[in-house]
Symmetry: C2
Subunit: 354 residues, 2 copies
DNA sequence: CTCGCATTATCATTTCTTTTAATAGTCCAG
DNA sequence: CTGGACTATTAAAAGAAATGATAATGCGAG
């Protein structure tokens, strides 16, 4: 019997819908219906109770589903391992990233990946943060690239980068000439903020409050691009992850100023994936590439590194407690790039934190 | 990809031959060749090195083979369990039996099985003992019914019956009138024996030697049927498993006389199967049926049970050491039928003896 | 209860895959 | 080097799966 049918059945069972399952498998609804029928015919047993909306699995269907899911997983693993033996890195790598991971850096990584592993097929989608989680959960993406990663019982997060936040101002701004400023310099300034539902907004608010700095919030956007445009338009200034403004700094449309007294002012990025899913070789290779020091860096960067001994560290809130780094000194082996981004190195598979 | 291809590949890999594998799967050789090609194409890796005779698996092929074998096994188990939930006992049950298990009894059991589980398909082949082992080893039979079972690292044996050996004589023989005789009564008699390569021959020889009884061996056969014909022809007498002469006793062409002083004179029968193979529900049901007290008995039998307190026990040689029963008293729960056959009850799966 | 919406089943048709039989090619032993 | 056993290749036929349209069904709102 076609293993395909089993895949379709599993998707239908998981999504509790023939149409959804069919769509997920890129087949017609008719096909999904017939595929499940074939399986039922073969087993001589009803797997799905269609008299309920949404459909329900029969006890037999439940057992079949659980068993088959494991078998499919194993089969994929075997296929992947066989290919690995022959040094073939193949198969799909589906990555969902938030917009602000930095298009430039990602494009570079994608390009390198495609060169290194021409037999693999990489798809990279830029989505809203919630959608990234959803795609990973729904198994529509193998990896998700998110900020302030929130691991849970279903999702595991791998530390990736720790991006320092810098003060971004228009070139003509009075602070534009400074090498570094204190947070207090922001007091009373017109500020372009993130919208309140975003974790980065809450983090920045916390830091400002702690420093007893009050800014005048004049605009709110849910994405970095708009914030940058607003700064360029002279509406105000903002704290943004340094790598995300590389292009504007290079072209001189914006100026970034380091913040000297807020080493906790960082945006951690994480690579998330489903916890109980065996990653394919191709996916693991992509993670390796993301974690290699040469990735994720701004191509050309005026040398203005953060002061030594003050490592970027992120005193995270409840939602992102995992990424707390030692306050003094980098994580062992961590790489600091020219723009201050901390690349968290590949972790030995030893202790899995929950 | 068709699971069928994987099955074919596994059979080809196991038998180290395309043609043999194809035959085992009931497909053409061409088909097997193409099936493996398809898999190789999909994986982009060579699985089989055809430049050697007999063919060899590549490292990738070896890994794929091992992985797939396990997956197929799991898949079959899942399918079986799903069917079991729905109270469906289906699938093939392939049994290989030695000729002398008793056609009558087996026919009865087969009939009952087919009535109880019409959706299962039972095939019963009568073969030479060595072939029975071979078929089980080659996975061409799910179960084997053999005498003096020899479990090993590949084959597991389930105790089934302990058949008492009785003295079989022609009706006109001087011992025909006795209810029971001592082994010594055989001294000097013309004896029809089994051929020397058979375990039962060696067992009987041991017992005769121990009783210091010398018989005159006038004929040797490798099967019971011929021995019976020879006895009918007046060539001599023989010690035979009682159930195997039921028909001749009923019709009066032969007479069976119990042997009073040789409680170890028994032929144990066992159900063998591959050790590491998960048995399907249908196969387990067949075993249950074999072990149920009503099975394996001679349909109508003159009541002449063996003396109470003297249980048939088999002091086995090295080859059949497993079946050693307590010298006094039956195995717990064992059933003694009218003809003295001891039906060994279903054993709780607790300690696996090697 | 009934209507409308969303979902699933059924069907005929097209398209694709699998199967087969015949044939050509390859490897090994003598 | 040759014969025999084995495997690959091919084209045609048989078979299975995918599709789109349509019918049937269940669910919830009014």
């Amino acid at each position: 019997m076609h293993l395909r049918f089993v895949e379709i059945f599993c998707d239908v069972a998981q999504r509790r819908s023939f149409s959804k399952g069919a769509e997920a498998q890129n087949v017609s609804q008719s096909n999904a219906s017939q595929a499940v029928s074939k399986l039922e015919e073969r087993l001589g047993t009803l797997l799905i109770d269609r008299s309920k909306r949404p459909l329900e699995l029969t006890p037999a269907g439940q057992m079949y589903f659980e068993g088959c899911r494991e078998i499919l997983e194993r089969f994929r693993t075997i296929e992947d391992r066989v290919q690995a033996i022959a040094d073939r890195v193949v198969g799909p790598v589906r990555v969902a990233a938030i917009y602000s991971v930095g298009l430039m850096q990602m494009e570079q990584t994608v390009h390198r990946f495609e060169q290194l592993y021409p037999d693999a097929s990489l798809r990279l989608d830029y989505l809203h943060p919630d959608q990234v989680y959803q795609q990973v959960l729904d198994d529509k993406a193998d990896l998700g690239l998110v900020s302030y990663p929130r691991p849970n019982s279903e999702i595991l997060s791998i530390d990736w980068q720790v991006q320092p936040l810098v003060l971004v101002v228009p070139p003509q701004h009075r602070l534009a000439g400074q090498h570094a400023v204190s947070l207090s310099a922001l007091d009373g300034e017109n500020y372009i903020g993130f919208t309140r539902e975003l974790t980065i907004r809450r983090e920045i608010d916390r830091q400002l409050k702690r420093a007893r700095v009050a800014v005048q919030i004049v605009r709110e956007f849910d994405n970095i691009e708009n914030i940058k445009r607003a700064i360029e338009a002279g509406s105000g200034l903002a704290l943004l992850p340094k790598p995300t403004v590389w292009q504007e700094i290079s072209s001189g449309t914006l100026v970034a100023v380091d913040v000297s007294d807020a080493s906790d002012l960082v945006r951690p990025l994480g690579i998330i994936h489903k916890r109980h899913k065996q990653l394919t070789t191709a996916v693991r290779k992509f993670i390796e590439l993301l974690q290699s020091p040469s990735a994720g860096l701004a191509p050309v960067e005026p040398v203005r590194s953060i002061s030594a001994g003050k490592s970027p560290a992120h005193a995270a809130g409840a939602a992102s407690a995992r990424l707390t780094l030692p306050q003094n000194g980098h994580a062992p082996g961590a790489t600091v790039s020219d723009d201050g981004t901390l690349i968290v190195p590949r972790r030995k598979r030893k202790s899995r934190r929950t």
